[in-house]
Symmetry: C2
C-alpha cells in the first residue's frame, strides 16, 4: 500500500472508492469478493522482476453477467479494474499501481462449446490451455498455442501470447476467432461470429487481442482448433557453435520446411536443463524440434532439415518418437525458466523478449551472447528462433543495485539492437509496465498516440488496467 500512497497521495480516496464498490457488490458476490490481505498480496504481481502492487479488492466472478456487474460498479465509483488470469505475466501486466479491484477470472473455467466439425471451440476466459487440451483429448483436435506456462486462454488472448508452436500455427492473433468482452461501462459485446474469415467492419477481435486488459475484460474466447497431426516426431540436434545453430534455423525457415517447433537453447541453458530436469544432453548450443504431418510428409521434412543441419556443423539428429520421450523433452524446455533460476538460487529473472526479422537473427543473437560473456553474467539464451524471437534470462540479485543496473543496461542495449534491425521489443510477453518507454522507442509517438486515442475512446475514465502499455503521463485518468 505504501507504494501507492507515496505515488498518488490519494490512498484514503482510493479506499473510500473500494469501500463503496464493496458495498454494492457484496450482496452479489458474497465470499467471492474479498479484501483479505493475503489474497490481495497474491494478486499484486505476476512472475518476473516487477515489484508487487496489490489491489484493494479481489473478486472471483463466475459469469460474464457478474463481470459486467463488477465493472459497472467500479465504473460508477471510478475504481480501477485489473483482469487476472493465471498471473504469469513477466512484464508487470497485472499489478495494481493505483489500487482498485482485481478481477480473478479463474472460476470462469467452463468449456462453453466444442464444434469439432468447424475446428473451433468457445471457452470462458479462465480455462487454461492444458485444461482445454485435456478436454479435447478424444476429439482428434487440439489447441496448439503453447507459451510454456499453463496460462488461461483469456490471459493469452489479452497478451497476444504465442510460444514454441507459433512458427507453424501462428500466435493468439491468428487463432482467436471471436471474443466476448465486457466494456469499461459494463456493456457486453461479442466481436464477431464463427466464420473463418470476414470483411465486416473493423477487426475488433484483433484490437482486443494484445490489449492487455486496457480496453475491456475478455470473458469468453472462441478459438480455432487444429487436427492432431497423424505423425509427430520430436528431435534434438546439437551444434558445434551458436553461429551454426542459428544459421541452420535461418536456412530451414527460408527453405520453407513447415516445422511445428524449432527452439534454440544455448550451452548455458542446456547445462541448466541437465541439472534441473536431469536430461543428459551435450552442453553445446542445441535445437529442439518437432515435425507434424502425414507420415511421408514428416519424413520429407526431417530429411530436409537433417541435410541443412549437417551443412551448419550439427551433430546427429536424435529422434524422440515415443510420446513419453517427447513429453520429457518438452518438459525440459518448458522448465527452462525454473532451470535458469536454479543456476543462482535466490535470484530473480529479468527475461528479455526481442524478435527480429530472421535475416538478422544471427547478428542479434551473437552480439547479445558476446555482451553477456563480456559482462560475465549468468544469462542463458532460449528462443522461438523460427520466428526470430529469443529470450535472454538474466539472473539478477535484486538486493544488489549495481547488478540490477548492469542488467537493465544490457537489456536496453539488446532492445535497441533489435529495434535497429526493424524488430520489436516484445515478441510475446507484452508491454505491461515494463516496456512502456520501449513501445515509444519502437513505434514513435504518433503511432502510440493512435493507440492512446483508442484507449480514450474505449475507456474514457482510464479505469481498465491503468498505467499499462502507456506511461502514467499519457494516461487519461
Amino acid at each position: 500500500m505504501t507504494t501507492r500512497a507515496t505515488r498518488s497521495g490519494v490512498l484514503a480516496e482510493d479506499e473510500g472508492r473500494a469501500a463503496a464498490v464493496a458495498a454494492v457488490l457484496a450482496p452479489v458476490l458474497g465470499e467471492r469478493l474479498t479484501d483479505n490481505a493475503s489474497v490481495r498480496f497474491a494478486h499484486g504481481r505476476g512472475e518476473g522482476f516487477h515489484a508487487p502492487m496489490p489491489p484493494d479488492l479481489v473478486a472471483f466472478p463466475q459469469s460474464t453477467v457478474e463481470v459486467s456487474a463488477v465493472v459497472a460498479a467500479c465504473a460508477q465509483h471510478k475504481l480501477p479494474i485489473i483482469a487476472w488470469g493465471a498471473g504469469t505475466s513477466l512484464e508487470g501486466g497485472v499489478t495494481a499501481p493505483r489500487g482498485g479491484l482485481c478481477l480473478d477470472l479463474s472460476n470462469m473455467n467452463r468449456i462453453v462449446a466444442v464444434n469439432p466439425e468447424d475446428l473451433d471451440c468457445t471457452v470462458e476466459a479462465g480455462v487454461t490451455r492444458e485444461d482445454l487440451n485435456t478436454h479435447l483429448r478424444d476429439t482428434g483436435l487440439f489447441f496448439p498455442i503453447d507459451p510454456g506456462a499453463n496460462a488461461t486462454l483469456g490471459g493469452m488472448a489479452a497478451t497476444r501470447a504465442s510460444g514454441t508452436t507459433a512458427v507453424r500455427y501462428g500466435t493468439m492473433r491468428d487463432n482467436v476467432l471471436s471474443l466476448r468482452v465486457v466494456l469499461a461501462d459494463g456493456r457486453v459485446v461479442r466481436t464477431t461470429g464463427r466464420a473463418r474469415k470476414s470483411s465486416a467492419g473493423y477487426d475488433l477481435t484483433r484490437l482486443f487481442v494484445g490489449s492487455e486488459g486496457t480496453l475491456g475484460v475478455i470473458t469468453e474466447v472462441t478459438l480455432r482448433l487444429s487436427g492432431l497431426p497423424e505423425t509427430v516426431v520430436a528431435a534434438v540436434c546439437p551444434f558445434d557453435d551458436l553461429a551454426g545453430a542459428v544459421g541452420c534455423v535461418i536456412e530451414t525457415m527460408q527453405t520453407g520446411v513447415p516445422l511445428a517447433r524449432i527452439e534454440l537453447l544455448d550451452a548455458v541453458q542446456i547445462g541448466a536443463c541437465n541439472a534441473y530436469s536431469r536430461t543428459e544432453l551435450p552442453e553445446t548450443p542445441t535445437l529442439f524440434l518437432e515435425f507434424h504431418g502425414a507420415p511421408r510428409a514428416v519424413e520429407e521434412q526431417v530429411g530436409t532439415f537433417a541435410e541443412i543441419a549437417a551443412r551448419h556443423g550439427a551433430g546427429a539428429v536424435s529422434r524422440a518418437t515415443r510420446p513419453e520421450d517427447r513429453s520429457r523433452l518438452w518438459r525440459a524446455r518448458h522448465n527452462a525458466y525454473h532451470a535458469a533460476q536454479a543456476l543462482r538460487p535466490g535470484t530473480s529473472l529479468v527475461v528479455s523478449d526481442v524478435c527480429v526479422p530472421i535475416s538478422r537473427l544471427a547478428d542479434c543473437v551473437l552480439a547479445t551472447h558476446a555482451d553477456i560473456a563480456e559482462a560475465g553474467m549468468v544469462a542463458p539464451i532460449v528462443g522461438h528462433v523460427g520466428d526470430g524471437n529469443f529470450h535472454v534470462m538474466f539472473t539478477v540479485d535484486g538486493s544488489d543495485p549495481v547488478e540490477v543496473s548492469r542488467v537493465r543496461l544490457l537489456n536496453d542495449r539488446l532492445v535497441d539492437r533489435a529495434l535497429a534491425m526493424d524488430g520489436t521489443c516484445t515478441g510475446e510477453h507484452g508491454i505491461g509496465a515494463g516496456k512502456r518507454e520501449k513501445l515509444i522507442a519502437e513505434l514513435g509517438g504518433e503511432a502510440v498516440g493512435l493507440m492512446l486515442a483508442v484507449k480514450r475512446a474505449f475507456d474514457p475514465q482510464g479505469l481498465l488496467n491503468p498505467d499499462k502499455i502507456f506511461l502514467p503521463s499519457e494516461d487519461p485518468l
Copy 2:
C-alpha cells in the same frame, strides 16, 4: 452531381471547398490534379451494382509525402477524401456520396524492397498483385493472396481481401506485416516493424486492414511472402449433385488436407464458363482444386482427397500438371464474373458474399440454390468453399424495378440465413455502402458503436471515405 445536390443541398459549398483545395494543391501536383469530368466520372464507381457518385477532384500522388500534402489540404478545407486503388470494389466502396477528392494511388507503383531471406517485401499501395508476382518471378517467392481481380495491394489491404488461396495462405489480415498510413490530418505513421510477430501494444496493422479507407490512407504495405511450392498440381472434380460436392469439401477440410485452393462452381456457372472461356467441362457441380507442397506430400494430399471425393459421388479427378493447363483452369475461374454477366448480356451483377462455419455450408448453399431455382433466376454460385465462403452472382436487369427488388429480397434472405448460422454478411468484399445495415444486423449496435468510436477518434471531421461502413446517420460529419 445531381445525386449529391439533391441529397445534401450543399453543392455550392462543396464546390467552394474543392476550389480552395485545388488552389492549394495545383502548384504541388500540376496536371496530376484534375476536375476533368470524364476522369471524375471514371472515379465515381467501382464494379458491381452501385450507382456512380463522382468526386469533385481526382489527384494522382506519387509519394507518401504528396498524399500527406493532399490529405492535409483536404482536412483544412473539410473536403472528403476517397482513396482509390484499382476500382474493383463490389460494394460501392469508392463512390463519393458527399463529393470530395479521389486519391488515385495507381501512380504509387514502386516496389520499395524485397527481402527474400525474410520472406517479406514492401510495396507502394498502387502496386497490383500481378505486378508484384511478376517482379518476384526469379526469387523463388510469391505473394499468394488472389482475389481474382488484379487489385492493388493497398486496396486489398483496405478491404481485407482474400480469394481462392485463403484456405491455405490466409487473408490480407494474415499476410500484411506492416503498413504506412497517412492519417486524417496528414501525419504519417508506420504501424509496426518487420518482425514476424510482436506483442507491442494494440494491433494497429489489423485495425487499418479492412477499414476501407475510413481511418487513414494506406500508402505502403509490407507483406509476408511464401516460397513457391516445389510441386503444384491443379485438378478438376465433377460431382453428381451439389450436396455431394459440398459434403466432399466439408470432409476434406475436417480431415485437415492442406489444400491450396478448393473452389466450387455450380452447374450454371460451369455452363457459363464453357461458353465464355471455351472450356469443355461437364455441366455439373464441380470443384477446382490446387495442391502445393513437396512432391510426396502433394501425392499424399491428392490421394486423400480422391478417396473422400469418391465417397461423395465424384467423377474422376482430372489433373492439370502443365503450367499452361493450370493457367487455363484458373483463368476460367477468374473470369467467372464476366462469364456470369455474359449469361444475360446487358445485365448487371449483384454479388453476395456470405461466409458460414463449415458445418453449415451444405445447409446454406443448398437452401440458397433452392431459393434461386424457385424464383427462376439466372444466378450462378461460385465459392471459396474451403473457408465456408460463397458468392451468388445474381444477374439483374437494372431497368426492371420488380426484378431489382426480387434480387434484393433474395440477397437479404441469404444474408439473414448466414447470420443465423453464426456467419458473416461479407467474407471478403467489405461493407462499403452496400452492407451497412447488414453490419448492424450481424454484430449489433454496441459492437458497431465501438467501431464508430474508433472512427471518431481517428477521423474527427469524418472526411475519410464518408458514408462507408457506417450509415450517414451514424457518421460524425
